[in-house]
């Protein structure tokens, strides 16, 4: 608590800057992902995909298509369905976006950097229970979906919301259970400590606990309601699920929340299983001294994490265009009868092995 | 540092509101929610008292209270569903078999 005036000011401004950068990044994730989600399957299916929209003659591989889409989406007419619970209908997108962006603040994006003689951590919210914080806040995402479905006064919305909330609370358990072995292995709930512990490739989470990694990836898809687990918005059955009645900017907000939570879970997977901002065989934190510019290590660490997260984002798109949708009972039996027992067994075996090794 | 008594007053208010809800709401689910409110008031007292007496036992008690609250909610809601299946209502005015 011995903060001096200067240090407090620097940390305060740094926190504001970090918040602005991360929030800006989160807002820019959906357009890029929408573009990727059209170009990647086009590449897989040997067709062109959107490539026309551009500024004058620069087409940028159709990257501006999603900008055009965003503009179109925001300027559409806003329709509130009759008989909707007005207050809840309007507040549901906030319930959806808030947890997604809040969780993005707790990911460590790089090593602590030294600027002007002050140590600045590269995550906006630094708590010693980072893991629990992420789980706690991301478990609030269910409310956005549920309230949206209930408030729109539409049976398809309600069915979609019920499906989505049942799915999300079911798959939260394997998601949490897959990360308990990691907490046991590295002995900390602080994400930054876990990243620092993964300095070599044989210390990565994916090497030490591959079963955890498999469980995490499956649960990650289910948690974000993405294919092959996108039953909540199965077009053939439920129109569009919980956001059937949403238009314009509110619809865009649900879109934003979905893609941001995908990004956050990708970052978490990279952080926990693939060493976060660390590169094997080289300590990024020594870059500051090597190059001589303070803060370079932070930028490089951020880039490394981003590349690793981009792999998972790509995996999302890849799986979406490869695996058909599950049936609802298959989804539930996969979660409760397969993943939770395996997860429990994984925790017990890891604990026993660790106890034997450390004995 | 805030005096412990302030937390106690807040918890008392919450507990009283919970009692009112549990007594006067006719919806069974609302009764269960009011009970959750009362349990939370108790949690607040545990944590504040634990901190005021520089002890950790308050926080540990809260872990147990949350466990019991989760069990209570699960069993209680299961009973609500069973009652709804049998009688088609969860209004306590109509559930009066035990009243003779």
């Amino acid at each position: 608590m011995g903060l001096t005036m200067n240090e407090f000011t620097v940390q305060f401004i740094a926190t504001l800057l970090k918040f602005a950068v991360i929030a800006g990044l989160c807002i820019n994730i959906p357009p890029i992902m929408v573009w990727a989600e059209r170009r990647v399957p086009a590449f897989m299916q040997r067709r062109k995909g959107p490539n026309r929209v551009g500024i004058f003659k620069w087409r940028l591989y159709g990257l501006l298509q999603s900008a055009a889409d965003a503009v179109k989406l925001i300027f559409k007419e806003e329709v509130v369905p009759e008989g909707a619970a007005k207050a809840f209908y309007h507040i549901a997108p906030v319930f959806s976006v808030f947890p997604a962006i809040m969780v993005a603040m707790a990911i460590p994006y790089g090593p602590d950097i030294q600027l002007f003689g002050y140590t600045i951590p590269l995550s906006v919210i630094r708590v010693d229970v980072g893991f629990l914080f992420i789980f706690a806040i991301s478990s609030l995402a269910v409310y956005g979906v549920t309230i949206a479905g209930w408030a729109s006064n539409n049976k398809y919305s309600l069915l979609g919301a019920l499906r989505a909330s049942a799915q999300m609370i079911s798959y939260e358990i394997p998601l949490g259970m897959s990360l308990i072995p990691i907490v046991l292995l590295y002995g900390s709930l602080d994400l930054n400590t876990i990243v620092i512990a993964q300095s070599q490739i044989w210390k990565w989470g994916v090497v030490l606990s591959p079963i955890s990694f498999c469980l995490f990836v499956i649960a990650m898809f289910a948690e974000t309601n993405r294919a092959p687990f996108d039953l909540a918005e199965a077009e053939g059955e439920l129109v569009a699920g919980f956001h059937t009645e949403y238009t314009s900017a509110k619809f865009a907000a649900f879109f934003l929340a979905e893609y941001v939570s995908m990004f956050v879970l990708s970052c978490l997977a990279a952080t926990v299983f693939f060493g976060g901002w660390q590169i094997p065989f080289f300590d990024i934190r020594s870059l500051d001294v090597l190059i001589g510019i303070p803060g370079v290590s932070g930028l490089v660490g951020f880039g490394v994490l981003f590349v690793k997260a981009a792999f998972f984002m790509w995996l999302y798109v890849w799986v979406r265009w490869t695996i058909p949708r599950f049936r609802y009972d298959q989804l539930m039996s996969l979660g409760w009868k397969f993943m939770i027992p395996i997860g429990l067994l994984n925790v017990v075996v890891t604990a026993i092995v660790l106890a034997v090794i450390r004995f | 540092m805030v005096p412990v008594e302030h937390y106690f007053v807040l918890a008392t208010v919450m507990f009283f509101l919970g009692i009112c809800g549990a007594l006067f709401r006719r919806n069974l689910i609302m009764v269960l929610m009011s009970i959750e409110l009362m349990l939370n008031a108790v949690n607040l007292v545990f944590i504040a008292a634990g901190r005021g007496n520089s002890s950790l036992d308050g926080q540990i008690m809260v872990v147990f209270v949350i466990t019991v609250a989760a069990c209570e909610a699960a069993v209680g809601l299961a009973m609500v569903i069973a009652l709804f299946r049998k009688y088609g209502t969860v209004n306590t005015d109509f559930l009066r078999i035990l009243r003779g």
Partner: protein, 194 residues
């Protein structure tokens, strides 16, 4: 000169924060109890739990704050909301609200209890508890709040902890048995449908 860090560490700010949280919690708790539609009550309950978690975090109990949001807001209230939607409950009508004699007596007694408690608190007669050895400085020196809580929970309180796990197992079985559909009823319905 206005010294911001000193102000931030002073008791004035923490009391201000507490009063803000206290006012919010009181209002939201009231809304939980008086909202006519159960869904509204459930949403206000989530807000209430979130504010309480903030209060816990301001008392350096980060672990409990996280558990509060994770278990209460993330699981229990979702369950409530889920059941409300599953049963498709409508808003309560205020007309049906009436007092019966035992309820009025219970309210009176609890109100008297409330007055006694508040009075005692303001008189400053709260009994002096046993001072434990875990002041905030001692906790920080020994590895932080989460570590200390875990150590105490898994050594001194290991048997209650195991009992709690048995209780959860019991609750799972009980919930499934109670909410399971009646088999005889089901076969009867199927016979009717045929």
């Amino acid at each position: 000169m206005f010294d911001l860090p000193l102000f931030l560490n002073s008791s004035l700010l923490s009391i201000g924060v507490f009063h803000f949280f206290a006012a919010m919690i009181t209002i939201v708790s009231l809304l939980v109890v008086v909202s006519q539609h159960p869904v509204k009550s459930a949403v206000f309950l989530v807000v209430d739990l979130f504010l309480l978690a903030g209060l816990y975090a301001s008392m350096d109990s980060h672990f409990i704050a996280a558990i509060q949001i994770l278990v209460y807001a993330g699981a229990i209230v979702v369950l409530f909301l889920f059941v409300i939607m599953l049963l498709n409950l409508k808003a309560d009508s205020i007309k049906g609200l009436r007092f019966s004699a035992p309820e009025a007596a219970a309210l009176l007694i609890s109100f008297i209890g409330f007055l006694i408690m508040t009075f005692n608190v303001f008189r400053g007669q709260a009994p002096e508890g046993i001072k434990g050895g875990f002041s905030i400085e001692a906790i920080d020196a020994n590895g932080g709040n989460t570590y200390m809580v875990a150590m105490r929970l898994l050594t001194t309180y290991i048997w209650p902890f195991e009992l709690a796990s048995m209780l959860i197992l019991l609750a799972i079985v009980a919930a499934i048995v109670i909410a399971k559909k009646d088999k005889i009823l089901k076969s009867l319905i199927q016979k009717e449908l045929r």
